[in-house]
Structure formats: C-alpha cells, structure tokens
C-alpha cells in the first residue's frame, strides 16, 4: 500500500512538474499558438516591455496594449487601434502580425530608445512598420511611449470628377460568358530584356496598349534552351498593371527562381489582352518624385488621389532607366494605408544597391483597388 501511495505521489508530482515546465518554458509551437504569450513575460527591461506590447498588438489585444503605454493620456484607445489598422479599409485593416524585431538603440537608468519593426502579413505580401519608441521607467517597470501617427480626416466637400469611361456591350445573356464579338485590343511589348539576379533570371519589359480601347493584359515568358525546349514558363502575376487604358504603358517583371541565364538561348513572350469596360477614375497623381542614391537607394514621392472616392489599396510600379534610356529595373510597392481624396500619402520604393548607380531616370504608374469594385 505504501509503495502504491508513493507511486501515485510520484506520478502526481511528475504530472504537475511537467505541466509547470511546459507552461513556464513553452515550446515554440505552443508560444505561437498562444499569440506569443508566456508566463515569463515581465516588463523589467525596456526590450521586454516593447516585446510585450508587440505580442499584444499581434493578438489584437488593443485594450491591454493601450493600457501598457506610458502616454495613453495623449490619445484614445480607438486612435491607437486606428493607427495600426487604418481608419479606412486598407492593407493594414486585414493584416496579421507575422513577426517583429525589437532593436535597442540606447538606454539610461530611466529611459531608453527602442526601435520596433512590425512585420505584417497581408494578402498581397508582407510590409514592415517601423516605430521608434521611447521607453520610460515607471516604478519597477518600463512603459513604452507610442509615437502615434494620426491619419488625416477628409472634411465634407464636393469633388467634381470628369474622367473618361469605356463601356462594352457584350453578346446576349444566352451566349457563353467568354464569347465576345469584338476584336481584342492591340498590345505590344515595346521593351524586354532578361537579367541574371542572385535568385535566378528576371525578365523585364514594358507593354504598350496601342489601341483606342482599354485592355486587360497579362504577359507570360518562356525561357528556351538552345534546342528550343522550354526551360521554364512564368507570368507577370502582380508585377504589372493589368488594366491598360488606350496608349498607356505598363512595366512588367517576370521572375524565374533558380534558373541561370547561361542556359537560355531565347525567350518567347506571350502578351494576352482582353477588351473590358474601364474608366480612368480614380486618377492618382504622383508628386515630388525623387531618386535617392545608395546607400539605401530608393524612389520616393507622394500619391494624391484626385478623385472623390477612397482608394483602399494602391500599387506603385516604378520603371528605372539608365542614361541611354535603357530599362534597368522594375520595382513595386503596395501602400499599406488607404488613399483619401486630395490627401498626399508618401511612398518609398526600394532599389537594389547594385543597380542604383546605373539608374538616371524613372517612370511610375499606380494600379488601384477599391472595395466598391465588387460588382
């Protein structure tokens, strides 16, 4: 009996001990599933305080995150949430925190500077949100000071729009949805050349809509070996503006990961175009365009939505040329905040350092997505 009781006691103690170990030092998957929460969380250092804040933001625990801030008296919880998720539906609204980095800058006994890099995952890709936080010691714990970015509010007003629009009358409802009795728009690749990058071959180019009607376009490229056999075939995916108004040009970039240019003898290009209804609205103006040299080479500017509707997501596609006007690179960037009418929003498109020196001019276009597009 005594042995039995001892065994029961040992098993019970082992069970409790193992649960305690698993809870105090949880495994990576358990931490991930708990939204980064662990019992060892304290705010005993500036980094730990910012890390806790990032975990709370990741779990969308806005109240907890807001209450942990030192400067919460300066703004409301709603404003804090809007800063991170956007006042209008945008990429931020539906983004999920995929990870974060806490980088201490400098610290004294009572205050510290910490850079917080939040990596958000969205349906079109990741974006990074960098915030420099001051962290203040208050009693035995540290509290971050949140650098709030207030989105501008658009005052009530009437905006007159005057834009072109093309409507297409299709065949009757009894016909197949895809059958059209009008010719497809004429599009032409006006420039194309492949380059070798570390990740593989990249095919750059520009596509022109030569027609007088709008076109929905896409481009495919097939790399061919010397014997004519295909090596790989890829499409432009989102590295192109698919809607081309008459006489409009879009850059495109097609990636072939893991391939070598030395194997490529020729490239077959297949532009596809479809006639669609379209309008020139919303018109997005690009202001203050600037090429910034290396290091941290980039193309910066501001987007201004000149129409009266909110653009939920804007996609900047930039084409870079050398002195002779030859195409050097195509880069893009999605805007994580919505474009409000008549309100400038800054953008930055990074440029690869090794190509930055060759670039002397640029051209940018903007593709847009608005929620109202849905039928």
């Amino acid at each position: 009996m005594k042995k039995g009781r001892l065994l029961a006691l040992i098993l019970a103690i082992a069970t409790v001990a193992l649960i305690a170990i698993g809870t105090i030092w949880p495994g990576p998957s358990a931490v991930a599933l708990a939204g980064g929460v662990s019992l060892m969380q304290t705010s005993s250092t500036p980094e730990a305080a910012v890390r806790n804040l990032a975990n709370e933001i990741g779990r969308r625990a806005w109240e907890e995150a807001y209450l942990s801030l030192e400067n919460k008296g300066e703004f409301s919880e709603q404003e804090f949430e809007r800063d991170l998720t956007g006042s209008y539906p945008s990429l931020r609204t539906y983004a999920a925190l995929d990870g974060f980095q806490v980088l201490p800058q400098h610290a004294t006994a009572d205050q510290a500077q910490v850079e917080l890099r939040l990596r958000w995952s969205t349906v079109v890709g990741d974006f990074e949100d960098r915030r420099n936080l001051q962290v203040l010691r208050s009693g035995g714990r540290w509290q971050p000071v949140w650098p709030l970015v207030k989105e501008p509010r658009v005052p009530p007003q009437v905006i007159t729009v005057n834009y072109l629009r093309w409507d297409v009358i299709y065949r009757g409802p009894g016909d197949d949805w895809g059958a059209q009795d009008v010719e497809t728009p004429h599009v032409r690749i006006v420039d194309m050349h492949p380059i070798q990058r570390a990740a593989g071959v990249v095919v750059l180019g520009e596509l022109l809509n030569e027609d007088v009607v709008p076109a929905y376009v896409t481009v495919r490229a097939t790399l061919q070996a010397k014997d004519g056999s295909p090596i790989a075939s890829e499409g432009s995916f989102d590295k192109i503006s698919h809607l081309l108004l008459p006489k409009q040009v879009t850059p495109f970039l097609i990636e072939f990961p893991g391939t070598s240019l030395s194997r490529v003898a020729s490239i077959r290009m297949d532009p596809v175009s479809q006639l669609i209804s379209a309008s020139a609205d919303p018109v997005i103006e690009i202001q203050n365009q600037k090429l910034n040299p290396a290091p941290d080479a980039s193309f910066t500017g501001q987007l201004v939505d000149q129409s009266g509707e909110v653009v939920n997501i804007a996609h900047v596609l930039a084409t870079f040329y050398d002195k002779s006007g030859q195409l050097v690179w195509v880069a893009d960037r999605y805007m994580d905040r919505a474009l409000l009418p008549q309100t400038p929003v800054a953008f930055t498109v990074p440029i690869p350092e090794d190509l930055a020196r060759k670039i002397s001019s640029e051209r940018a276009i903007v593709a847009t997505y608005s929620q109202d597009d849905r039928w």
Partner: protein, 564 residues
Amino acid sequence: MAAFAIHAPLLLMKLPLKSYDTNFHIFFASHYVHHWFNPWNAKWYAGFSQATYPPLPQQWVAVVSRLTGLDMAYMAVQFAGILLLALGVYRFAALWVNERAASFAALASVFLGSESFLVYSAGQLSTTCAAPLYLNALPYLFEWVRYGRGRSFFKGAALFTAAAAAHHATLLFGSMFFAIPVLALTLLDRHEGKPLTTLAFVLRTAVMTVVVGMAIAVVLLPFWIALFHYPVTQTPIPHPSRANYILSPQWGLNYFLVPYGALVLALPFIFLRGSAVVRLRPLLFGFWLAFMVGLGGTTPVAHLVLGRAFEVLTMERFSYWATLLALPFVGLLASELVSQYRTRAVVGLSILAALSCGLAVAWSSYRPADAEDFKVDSVAAWLNRDGHDNYRYVTLGFGNKIARLAVFTDASSVDGEWNSGRMLPELMKYGAGALTSSKYFGAAGLDALRAILRHANRYGLKWVLVRDPYYDPLLSFAGWRRVDQLEDNTIVIWSKDGVPPATAVNAPQMPPHWQGILWGTLPFGSSLVALLLVLIPDKRHRTAEVVEAATGSNQEFVPGRRVS
C-alpha cells in the same frame, strides 16, 4: 441499447456532417464508389493517391452507400464503430477488472466525451473505427501470449490487421499505450494457474509481432510504397491541439475539458487505485503516458515521445486513447460507488455521464467546424456545366466545405484537405493547410496561395471561387477578373485569361494497376477475414477467478480474467 438510444438519433440527424473531417471521409468514399481499384484521385491537388491513407472505413462507407447513399452510409459505419467500441471496451476492461466493472466501463464508453468529440466535432471516422478493432484484438493477444491458444492468435492477428487497415497510427501508438500494458499483465499473471515461462512469453510475443507486422506490410503495401517513395517532408502545419492548454485556455477547453468531461473527476481515483494495485499498474502507466501526450504542448512529454511526429500528428487522438485506457478504472469506480451508494450513485453517475456526452455533442454546434453553413450545390452545378470542368479550380473561404464540393463536382482542384497526400511543391513548401483557409495560416498560407496562383497556367487553374472578399485585392492585382456570381453574390467566380485546359500532373506518384488491385482487395478483405474468424466460437475454457474490486488492496484483486 444505450449506444442505440444515444447515438442513433444523433447520427440519423447527420450531426457529424458539421464536423471537421466527415466530408473528407465521404469524399474518399465517393472515390471508392466510382474507382474501387484505382486509388488515384484527380479531384484534389491536381491528382493524388488515396493509397496514402488507410482505406477500410471509407471503403465500407462506399459499399454501404450502394444501399443508403453516402451520407447515411457514413452514419451507419460510424454507428458500427460506436457499437464495436462498447464491445471492445468491455472485453479490454475485463482483462483488468471484474465483469461488473467491465460492464460499467462499456456503458461509460457510450457517454465518453472524447468519443462524441471525435464523432461529432472532429469527424475522425478512421480513429473511431480503428480503436474498437484494436481493443477487441487485445484480449486475444492476452489469451495467445498467456495461454498459447491458437484460435486467439488468428483472431487477434486478423483484428490487429483490420485495425491497421482502418488507421495505421492507431496500431503504431496503440502498441505503446495498449499492447505493452497487456503484455505486462501476462507477465504479472504468469504464475497463476498454468504457468507461463519467459521463453514462451518471448516467443509468442515475437510470433504475434512478426505475423501481424507481415500482414500489415502486405495489406497496406501500396501505402508503404507511397510512404517510402514520397515520405512526408513538407513543412509542419500548426495545429491548436499542440498548444499549451494553460496559456491558450480556449484550446484547453476544446482539447481537454470537452473530451474528458466528468472523467476529470475520476483522475485522483485512477492515480490512487492504479498505483495501489500491482496488477493495474501497467494500465496506469499506459494511461498516464497517453494522458501526458494528449496534453499537447502543455508539457514537454509529447515532443519528447513523438519527436518530429509531434509537428505532424494531432493530439486529440491521444486524449481519446487516454480516456479509453481510463475506462476500466471508471468502471471500477462506478461499480464501487453503486455498490456503496445504490440509487444516489446511479443518479449522480448518470447525470455526470449525460453532461459529458451532452457537452461533447453540443460542442459541435456551439463551436462548429463551419462557422457559416452554406450549400455548395450551386457551385458544383456551375463547375459541371459548359465545359468549366475542363479547367481546375480553387476555392477561398469555403472552409471544410471543399470536400463536400469535391464530392459533387467533376472538376479538379489544386487544393484539398489531405495534407500528407499532396505533392504540389507550392503547397508542401510553406507549412500551411488548405488554400481555401489561407489567411488563417498567416504568411505561410498566403505565400502558398500566391505561389499556386502564380503557376495557374501550369495547373490549368482558371477558376477561383471566392466566398471571402479578403482575397479580392490579390486576385485583382494578380490579373484575375470577376466573371460570375452565385448564391446572391456571396460567392464570386474569378477567372484568368489565357489559361490552358488542365492536364494530368503528378504522374510519377500514380500507383500502378497492380497496387490498385491490392488496395481494393486486401484492406477490405482483412476486415472480412477478421469478421469471419471472430464469428468462430471459442473453445470452452475453465473460468478463472473473477476480480473483485471492493477496495484498493492487492489481495482483493485476484489475478486472472474472465475467459469467454
């Protein structure tokens, strides 16, 4: 009778259709209906082999569906599993405790929260069919090793093989949690009655292991070939059953409290009685290990025991096995309580049993796998008309309705719900589950979705059926256009221009014809052989002393067992 009264109405209401995996099993069964001897299914992942998943329950569903249709066939097979469980628990418990306690254990199995959780919330047909077969095999293992009875050997081997044909993991881990305690019991009992020599024990155990191992190797040969050629190397997919249930209490509720129910109250008794009685200690150790592994990431045990498999397996089945191992103790406790407190104990136990079962059944409605129930008939009809099924499709925001849709449509998808069977590199690389739920897998899910959309032309992927506007921006920027809408504009169909018609892919993974013949013959045949062998009556043997279990003393647990 209890099983019939409790589960028959729930199954007739088709409650499991709301669960996570029921439609997955029905989809597999629907393939066997049309292609019994060809495990290559072109409807998911642009083609995958069903030989990557043991087929027995789905094949039975396919057979029964000839009479009842697929949905009711599923319910019938599931009901058979529930009935077999009560029988299996009785026979397994009778190895450890007396007949009365074993009867209570069998009754408790009907109300078991984990069983109801797996049937109505998780929809794990294979696990809930394999476990009863395994439990029914264990007494034969005991009789063979302890007494050397030839009939028990054949019956046990046939049932073990059929259990593996239903679910291979049950056999693999069942050996650790169930068979080793039973073998330990034969050693503990070796001096009672006819003595068992160590040599006989080793030889009989080895013979059973080798014969069952060979039988399983042959019966599931296409499965092993597929596993050998295409091992599961894809990036692990997160699953909430691996959470720490204290740090994530919502998952603790889902994967611990609901499956265990009132059984939690019996834990002190299990520990105390299992430790006090030498004969029950192997069962206690088996239970404890399964219990700890079933706690997922709450302890480091699961990771230590399973290694990399921890990131591949889901943990709820371990809790299920733990509760099955607990049932002999529960039967013992119930027997003692009823003996001592009569009606009061009966009322109390009945209430606790009803609450456990009720909570697990209600859980499927309170936290359904499909947050929004919707019909996929119109989507299937759209895909099946006007040559739309010449191209492949993918759904977004359909949850586990993709299996239901796949049953109804002739079109092929690049998505699916059987992650271990998929071979498309875009899906294996990122550590996400079904594309239709990409956003719930964070960056990994969205990366996988973008990768597959990039290669739309390669797979003839022309249609994207969207029920969640979250994905609209990606489709819009990536060159897809809205072409139609269904169900009052709640489902929008997007199309891409210039996509060629779908052609067969993954050809190297396609099992040859001879494997199809084996797959259609041996697993199902193993269940028929098991059925026939079990129906052969046993010889009458002298009935050994019955275990009486009034209190926790060793003297009151007379070694031996009821002999059928």
